[in-house]
């Protein structure tokens, strides 16, 4: 009962954010506009703003927030470390590297290569995680904590590489890169919705069918092996799913950290450890966090827009520190 109540509040919050999002911005809409839309009498302007600008952006942010949260939840489960986050283990750095390669070697404006940029970002993120993953097998068995450590180290190394490339960048190239690292939601038109949302939903569905295994991963590996589970295989599948989710998300949203860390954490505080509940609550809370950050970025300094990734970092950074301090005390 209490859990249902909490879910209702979160969903209500999400709806409130989404509605505010739809109506506010450089071109604010009114209730009359909404009514007109519903009765098919709205002006072309209103329709353009709502359907071509606001809707795709909201959809991308909504689904990517959920994807980052789920990606983080998976990493935390397999590493048995509640501080794991896809941004920490190199997804963002790898995606950034893909972006840098794109900027360096593919000239021309972004609109000419609508899909090339997110594709390279996706491949960069995914490849980095997979490389980290295979490195962590060196020395025999796969150890999740080693995986996280190698991830952090690789993330730093790759970021260094990125800056080496930037030394030859001109101003426009630099600006493109900064847009990525600030977590500007660059993919906020329908084509980006089509290349990200369906895949994220499908991958999430795959994860849904492994909730049981995710819950069991709390047990020691020996015990799970005793139950006949192929623990390494299970972890590999989950890591790949997690890497795909976060790479997809950052390839259309830009480098966004902390959602994967914070959303599962809030979920645990609210709902406890039940994996099925954590799955759904993390998705929802991830959506709430990213849409709220996007909304705040749009409203705080309006008409100026603060990149969403920066808003997330401004809130996420202190939260992460607070978590670390608390972990110290216990």
């Amino acid at each position: 009962m209490r859990n249902q109540f909490k879910f209702i509040i979160i969903i209500a919050l999400l709806v409130a954010i989404l509605v505010t999002h739809l109506f506010t911005g450089t071109f604010s809409l009114t209730w009359t506009d909404l009514l007109n839309i519903l009765t098919n009498q709205a002006s072309a302007d209103v329709r353009l703003v709502l359907f071509e600008f606001r809707m795709p952006r909201i959809l991308v942010v909504l689904v990517c927030g959920a994807a980052l949260a789920l990606s983080g939840l998976i990493l935390q489960v397999i590493s048995k470390n509640p501080l794991a986050d896809p941004g920490i283990i190199g997804v963002n750095a790898g995606s950034g590297f893909g972006v840098v390669l794109f900027i360096t070697f593919i000239s021309g404006s972004m609109s000419q290569h609508l899909y090339a940029l997110p594709l390279m970002s996706f491949v960069g993120g995914l490849l980095t995680v997979l490389i980290i993953f295979f490195l962590s097998f060196i020395g025999g068995a796969f150890k999740s904590n080693i995986f996280i450590l190698i991830g952090i180290a690789t993330a730093m190394g790759v970021t260094g590489f990125v800056y080496v490339f930037t030394s030859v960048f001109d101003e426009t190239q630099m600006e493109m890169l900064n847009r990525y690292f600030a977590g500007n939601i660059w993919g906020d038109t329908w084509p980006f919705v089509y290349i990200s949302v369906p895949y994220i939903l499908i991958i999430s569905l795959f994860v849904f069918f492994r909730i049981r295994e995710m819950g069991m991963l709390n047990l020691d590996d020996e015990m799970l092996t005793g139950f006949g589970m192929n623990v390494n295989k299970e972890k590999i599948i989950l890591i790949v799913l997690s890497a795909m989710l976060s790479s997809l998300a950052v390839s259309v949203c830009g480098a966004i950290s902390f959602i994967g860390l914070i959303a599962p954490h809030i979920s645990r505080m609210l709902f406890g450890q039940n994996m099925k509940i954590l799955f759904f609550s993390s998705l929802l809370i991830g959506s709430v966090l990213l849409t709220a950050a996007d909304l705040l970025g749009k409203l705080i300094l309006a008409p100026a827009i603060i990149p969403t990734g920066i808003v997330v970092a401004l809130i996420g950074g202190p939260y992460f520190l607070w978590l670390l301090m608390r972990a110290r005390q216990i």
């Binding site: 819950g215 047990l219 020691d220 020996e222 092996t225 005793g226 139950f227 006949g228 192929n230």
Partner: protein, 252 residues
């Protein structure tokens, strides 16, 4: 003969830095036996148990369970074999906080397709034998350590495995809960003719078994059999062997 190990060697590390933990161990375990493995800390008890139970692979040697060589089995078959024929108890209770005692016990059965009535009956049997039937609806954090470990033992027995492997099952328990658990294990061993292989560094715990195998420097150092003796006498002999061996009851 339910378990037969021949020339078991196991080393850790890489080409440049190798340590041989098991240096050639032979042992035979009869069906229905309750065997303890003892030895100083770091002598390779856990390593031996893990290779015997196929959780870990041997470096060389062969292990036969009911005549079948598990060192030659493919991963998939091995996983199935573990799931169906082996049960495990570890020092950590390894219970899922989000499941009730009953759900935890039934975990090994929930992985396979089994009729509900049959599942229910299996639960009744083991839960009654281990004296935790009335705790079925509770969660692990609502019961004592001893009760948690009996839950973990019930889970190891619930699918009627051929062999139960236990690594320091009493390591985290006070002496009263420990003797409670050991009595139950012994009772299960006698009543259901289940074979138990238990690693322990505690002479009292070992005295519940019918045979004690001592490890030293990666080899079997000696073997004691209880025979028809009383438990106290067996305990004394275990103690004296242990003191000759050194490393009395010290475990990290």
């Amino acid at each position: 003969m339910i378990l037969e190990a021949k020339g078991i060697k196991k080393s850790y590390g890489n080409r440049f830095n190798r340590t041989e933990v098991l240096k050639g161990i032979d042992l035979d375990i009869e069906k229905g036996e309750f065997v303890s493995i003892m030895g100083a800390s770091g002598s390779g008890k856990t390593t031996l148990l893990n290779v015997l139970s196929s959780i870990d692979r041997v470096s060389s040697g062969h292990i036969f369970i009911e005549g079948e060589d598990i060192t030659a089995m493919k991963d998939k078959k091995l996983a199935n074999f573990r799931k169906n024929d082996l049960g495990f108890i570890f020092q950590q209770y390894n219970l899922l906080d989000t499941l009730t005692v009953k759900e935890n016990i039934l975990l090994p059965l929930s992985i396979r397709n089994m009729k509900k009535g049959e599942v229910e009956r299996q639960f009744e049997t083991v839960a009654n034998e281990l004296g935790i039937h009335e705790l079925g609806g509770k969660y692990p954090n609502e019961i004592s350590g001893g009760q948690q470990q009996r839950t973990s033992a019930a889970r190891a027995f619930v699918h009627q495995p051929k062999i139960i492997f236990a690594d320091e099952p009493t390591g985290a328990l006070d002496s009263k809960s420990a003797s409670g658990l050991l009595n139950k294990l012994k009772q299960m061993n006698i009543n259901s003719r289940s074979t138990i292989v238990m690693v322990t560094h505690d002479a009292t715990a070992a005295s519940y078994s019918s045979r004690v195998i001592f490890l030293k420097d990666g080899l079997v150092y000696s073997t004691l059999r209880k025979g028809e003796r009383r438990q106290e006498e067996f305990y004394k002999e275990i103690m004296s062997t242990q003191s000759v061996l050194g490393g009395v009851g010290v475990e990290s």
